[in-house]
Symmetry: D2
Subunit: 333 residues, 4 copies
């Protein structure tokens, strides 16, 4: 009953096959036939011209984007529980050259226009205080909540009014889309998103994330920043091939639906122990220490989120029996 | 007849197998069983306690090491043709926070104690001039020359006298060792090397390099810097597994021997067109434009190195027939 | 009735005289006779060997110290109202290369060991979260509160236990000392402070602050960082001369006493409108918009601190009549 | 006979007077009446709308400008003897966040369009090599040579063609202008210069340089970068007052003429020992060790520039008798 993190799941067999199939001599870096297909594949998926870059980690995707959207002397508005703030070892500071994360409150790690407005309005417009340049949101959020297109659009509108860029950390973007069933275009560029970190690793990829630029004019800068950060792999075709395999036949969506369905099953069993509604593939439960110990004793693996809270994460390959077994254990608490 | 770069070669089948074999749920980041074997495997190989980190690119391996060895306000002595100077998009400046590369001359991109001493002695010892903190050498060099242990030891001794750290970019370290037959320990830590970027990608790996720290006290810092640079892959076991497969039965050495043998064959055919002795798997030839065109017309792929020079690189999987065919073409020029 | 900020006050006549007296050819940078006296003068004042550097701004003094005390990949614990967080345009991020400010709560911008401990304990000890390296406190605080030696010592002890450095932003250090009457040594190095930004500009200097290093081993690094940040003035004797003039006959203490006394007079008049006890030369008052307007109409100049609050700052040269006049106006509200 | 450096000269009495005159309460930072006059004063001098900022050092002026003109991932073309390369402790790397200085050759530290073109043409246009973003020249050069307006215009034209910005380090700009008698506009913005570090400290100022932006759209960014680098002095009126005193009645030009005249006198005495023509206020002489010793024995103070070369620098206040005495000593060698 391993529900510690989708980070640790296996890659989908088709991804491994794709890597093996791309394992022949071709052009290095991103001149190969797989890499050259990415722009087209994502442009189709997003119904507009985009520029797409493979990178190996979500931190790299997020921070390359942020470095292009925010100069070193300005700030990025994000939730105080955002991955870029709490789990990337200060990578935004490194990639941007010292830009500041301006932290927002909000239930379930969700960012609202009101919260952003309050933060912006509290900043004196002078050279002594760091002025914001961008907003970064995570979809699904760090607590498994999902943004609807209209919610993103409201943020996008605010961003436009204030001259701010809008970045979406989509480490679990597939899980969010699997829930809303909305068009990718609607929740991204049509809603004002400038750049998206589209995660594949947690969802059946091996080590490949896509950085999608809707503001395509940033592509040249991103290409250089990627190289300069040591993220231009010579055999990049192996990364591109993974991503193409995930897009093929909407494997990304199927995988996310599987993970979400497992989470729903667990959610029903967890009932009112749930700290947040389960909208993607993460569950946060209130439990006593004894209950947590009892679950562990029954073979459940999970993350101690904080005092009295535990986290379960399902993944594309969550074992059906393990899900049922854990559901039963949760119901029996 | 593709001899453009070893960067673009396929991965060895055992590497692909190892990736597939590691493709099951385990702990994320580097807590998995493969990653946890690296320190031991390399400590055995180097006959001393080392700390070993997987990363996905040589640029990352080099620049993480340099950032730990050189503070932002000092400099790194390297050859003016060093990869870190000419082919990493300024990554050393990014990773170190602005340290300076202090450039040295030397035939075949080789660094000598004399050249280093001249450069150091030309720097006034005051706060106005950037003081050196480290030396970085490439083995085999960017022109395919190989350092013998005694040569590195001479640099190491100089470094020690002046309080400088010593880094080795070993993108083609295997090719160098295949040529000299020396012990790994002798050409590295016994010779004063503090950190080594041990390359596997050019030599049959897919996307995995090892950063080896002989100064093990730097390990904690490197671990954080790796994360902060977006280089801590969640499914790092896939990288560790590649490296372990390369070490298994000395596959790394066999592969390098294969590439070097192919280069020797070509070198004999090239004769006195060779710009540098061929000591590893790279050949630089003087040719006229017509000769270059003729080679291309015969199906040879290579790199135009500069006016009147072309570069061939062999790899572990260089096709024997292509090698013979190219050798014949070179001999016939 | 200008009580907007001590930042804008005139320099003391003796400071101007000292500048004029130092205005003759000498060695550039800090080789001149005035600069060479600083180490000795401050070592005497602090009753221990220190290294002292002139710089032109408090931001430079603070951030040079922080860059030496905290590597780019770690964090600095400070109050969320600290000057380095809210009023230095992100300078700590720039000087350190992206270190994070980890924000603490506490009444009157005062930092307590408890608050620091809570913040430290909330940080997982892994590579994903930014680990703290230093604590920075401001004395007197941004709200005019003063640390007693025992309070600093408690922080220093905590810092030592956790392996953290301790920095003091002493933009109004003189005002703090004028209040407590404690020995400088007791509130700094004996209490565990590693580096102090000793402010003179707000207290009768023209453009000179002293960065005092109790951890003298950092001096060489600070000297280089100062140059590299463009803060090594060629005619630095003009800065050293200002500082020496301020130390001469304890002018710094006399000036601070004058400012504090003026603040006390205003404080008595302000009565229970005071938001914080007045321990140095700043007063924060609760007023209605109408009261604020009335004060302005009577010729008072002050800072609108936020909704319903205004700030007055006295300085060494606060005009006695203006003080009495404002006191009367406050009493009459 | 102190001719070590103009860096160490006294400030002009009018500058000291201006500081004293500005020594009264006013608005902090650059809101005071003196600072607010700078834009106008320099706009008049340069016959176009400019934005002007005071800073305390030439390093700060240069590097703030370069940081605004060159992103962290590109490069700045400059002479290998440029002050920013050899005498600023790596400050360009610090301010820009790791941009690379791309070094050019050229007699007397002078940069020509040919040298720039050769350097640019040697850079492959790909993401592996650092692409240039700006050219920086020093006028007068580090060897005392002066650019005529036509020379700068040729560089400006090249810069425009290649999309490069053009920066001028004018630490001794006054000396250059005193020699050519050209209009300031002609040698700067009309010739394509985007930003100028206009030095006053070496020429009779105390600690004040002006950063002049002809590309006025950069002003907001520069203002923030200046603050963030700790270069926004609270009593900035003291800096502005110095600069205004230097502009008043063209004191800057008179001072430079004085220094240049002294240099001419020495140059005539030095005859064919001169390594470069004397076009400003610096002289480089070939001497034997014995000759150097003899000059020292006669009381001359100078800089040992390198093997067999010594440097003399005259300044606005060079003592006429000392000049004559040194001239006699030189003639007698």
């Amino acid at each position: 009953m391993r529900f510690f993190s989708d980070n640790a799941a296996a890659a989908h067999p088709k991804v491994i096959e794709a890597i093996a199939a791309s394992n022949r001599l071709d052009t290095a870096y991103d001149g190969d036939e797989w890499s050259r297909k990415l722009d087209g594949a994502f442009s189709e998926l997003f119904e507009t011209d985009v520029r797409a870059f493979w990178v190996t980690t979500g931190t790299a995707a997020n921070c390359l984007a942020l470095a292009a959207l925010c100069p070193p002397y300005r700030g990025i508005l994000c939730h105080r529980d955002a991955h870029i703030e709490v789990d990337e070892a200060g990578a935004p500071g490194f990639f941007t050259g010292g830009a500041k994360l301006i932290l927002l409150d909000g239930a379930g790690a969700k960012v609202t226009p009101d919260a952003v407005a309050r933060a912006c309005d509290a900043i004196r417009d002078d050279v002594h205080q760091v002025q914001p340049a961008a907003i970064s949101i995570t979809n699904a959020t760090e607590y498994g909540l999902v943004y609807r297109a209209a919610e993103v659009a409201a943020l996008g509108e605010f961003a436009k009014e204030r001259g701010l860029a809008l970045h979406m950390d989509g480490a679990r973007f597939a899980n969010a889309l699997a829930t809303t069933g909305e068009r990718l275009a609607d929740v991204t560029w049509r809603a004002g998103v400038d750049a998206l970190s589209f995660g594949f690793t947690k969802n059946g990829g091996l080590n490949a994330e896509a950085l999608i630029l809707f503001r395509t004019g940033l592509a040249d800068e991103i290409a250089v920043r990627r190289k300069r950060a040591g993220h231009l792999a010579s055999k990049g075709r192996m990364l591109a091939a993974q991503i193409l395999a995930m897009l093929e036949g909407n494997l990304w969506l199927d995988n996310a639906r599987g993970a979400n369905a497992a989470a729903k099953t667990l959610a029903q069993a967890a009932g009112d122990r749930l700290v947040y509604p389960v909208e993607a593939n993460e569950l946060f439960l209130s439990v006593t220490d004894e209950e947590a110990a009892s679950l562990r004793a029954q073979g459940a693996d999970f993350y101690e989120w904080g005092p009295g809270q535990i986290r379960f994460v399902t993944s594309w390959d969550s074992d059906a029996r393990a899900v049922d077994q854990l559901a039963a254990a949760l119901a029996a608490l």
